[in-house]
């Protein structure tokens, strides 16, 4: 077989390569350089070897932040993925309500992240916030996310579910509407139950979009910063200090660029490994 080789595509990829080089590769290389050195400012650096990595890996503070981060991401994935698929299954496939549902679903994702944090911050305040006041005065739950760690966790999880379940819904819905009617007709002739249709037709057909949804939600929730920072600022105490919040505290609060560089690389390695594992396991049996 004679195949014509056309190398012009490389030219089209060039702008992306340059963009990635400047917004990812150069900062990444700088972080690697910082992670093995000590600086007191003024662009003067002293070699410190792997000392910062050792310090971060054995610090209680890092273990605690990593634990909180893993817990947060696990809860987010366990809620958002099934909920998103369920909502997508309930959405109409034809008719005038389709665009209405799609726009309603897309709305939370259009709001800037810091605005989402501020909205939930005000809404959940126990004295003046609609949600906080309602929970305290009507439901009778002594709710105060500024004082109680459990309440703070409930609030940041509710905020993330509100903000990002739509992404799973839209992706799952795109997978669902791409299933040809013939599949459903065949299932009806065979007398398949609702569950069997979901298990053997809808779920396999949604697999590729769900892989993307789970990957995006994992990466986004594992690297989340803006919303919980605006909502709780990592508090009360350190209760909601996730990895990224702790990292910014070390890098910009304490100006410890060396340990912050080492922590960034460990953080990046964990994200990369888990993303690779997710992707490999979910696409392993694909043709």
């Amino acid at each position: 077989m004679n195949k014509t080789w056309n190398q012009k595509a490389w030219l089209l990829v060039l702008p992306v390569v340059l963009l990635v080089a400047f917004n990812a590769l150069v900062p990444m290389m700088t972080v690697v350089n910082y992670s093995v050195q000590e600086t007191f400012g003024n662009n003067t650096f002293f070699w410190s070897g792997l000392q910062w990595f050792e310090q971060i890996l054995t610090s209680e503070r890092f273990h605690a932040a990593l634990g909180r981060q893993v817990l947060f991401t696990s809860i987010i994935l366990l809620i958002e993925v099934p909920l998103g698929v369920a909502i997508a299954l309930c959405m109409p496939k034809k008719g005038v309500w389709v665009p209405v549902c799609l726009v309603l679903m897309a709305l939370p994702m259009l709001i800037p992240w810091n605005v989402v944090g501020s909205m939930w911050n005000i809404m959940a305040l126990p004295d003046i916030g609609l949600l906080g006041y309602f929970l305290n005065e009507v439901v009778g739950w002594q709710f105060d996310y500024t004082q109680d760690p459990i309440d703070a966790w409930v609030t940041i999880i509710a905020m993330d579910v509100w903000h990002w379940t739509s992404l799973v819904v839209l992706l799952a819905y795109a997978g669902l509407v791409s299933i040809p009617d013939a599949y459903y007709q065949a299932a009806e002739i065979d007398g398949a139950s609702r569950w069997a249709v979901f298990r053997h037709i809808q779920l396999p057909k949604m697999k590729s979009v769900l892989t993307i949804a789970i990957l995006l939600r994992f990466i986004d929730s594992f690297n989340i910063y803006t919303e919980p920072f605006t909502l709780t600022g990592g508090g009360p105490g350190n209760a909601t200090t996730l990895l990224s919040i702790d990292l910014v505290k070390i890098a910009l609060g304490q100006f410890d660029l060396g340990p912050a560089g080492a922590m960034s690389l460990i953080y990046f390695a964990i994200t990369l490994l888990v993303s690779w594992l997710f992707y490999t396991l979910m696409t392993r049996n694909d043709p």
Binding site: M29, T30, F53, A269
Partner: protein, 136 residues
């Protein structure tokens, strides 16, 4: 006679003071002049990216490996896919990725469990790389 001796000693005193200034209190706070090559000294003084020969070598190694893979891909396209012992179908690029990712975790794991020095981690990483390109 004494005056003559003093006059004779004067040049020696002056030169001694100059020498003292150069070698001693005139150099307080100044770094000793460094000569020779050092892997860990900043490559470009005052540059914000803070390159050292050691970190530059790491990136040069990674980019060289990617370059070798590119040349191989041009000569023998397709990435030489195969089913490895981990049950994965891997190409040459996958095997390099696994080698680098595994190496990062071997070093992090070693630092967490045993601390420095990391010669053991280096040996394990080389073994892991050989295993990746041989069996995975």
């Amino acid at each position: 006679m004494r005056r003559l001796v003093r006059l004779a000693l004067l040049p020696a005193l002056v030169s001694g003071a100059a020498h003292a200034q150069q070698a001693g209190w005139g150099n307080v706070g100044q770094q000793p002049e460094e000569t020779g090559f050092d892997w860990t000294r900043p490559l470009f003084d005052g540059f914000w990216m803070a390159w050292t020969p050691a970190t530059l070598a790491v990136f040069a190694g990674i980019f060289a490996a990617m370059g070798v893979l590119t040349v191989l891909e041009i000569r023998r396209p397709g990435g030489a896919p195969r089913d490895g012992v981990l049950g994965l179908t891997t190409t040459r690029g996958d095997r390099l990725f696994l080698t680098l990712l595994g190496t990062a975790f071997i070093f992090l794991g070693w630092l967490f469990l045993f601390g420095q020095p990391v010669w053991g981690a280096l040996a394990l990483s080389i073994g892991w790389g050989v295993f990746c390109f041989w069996k995975v």
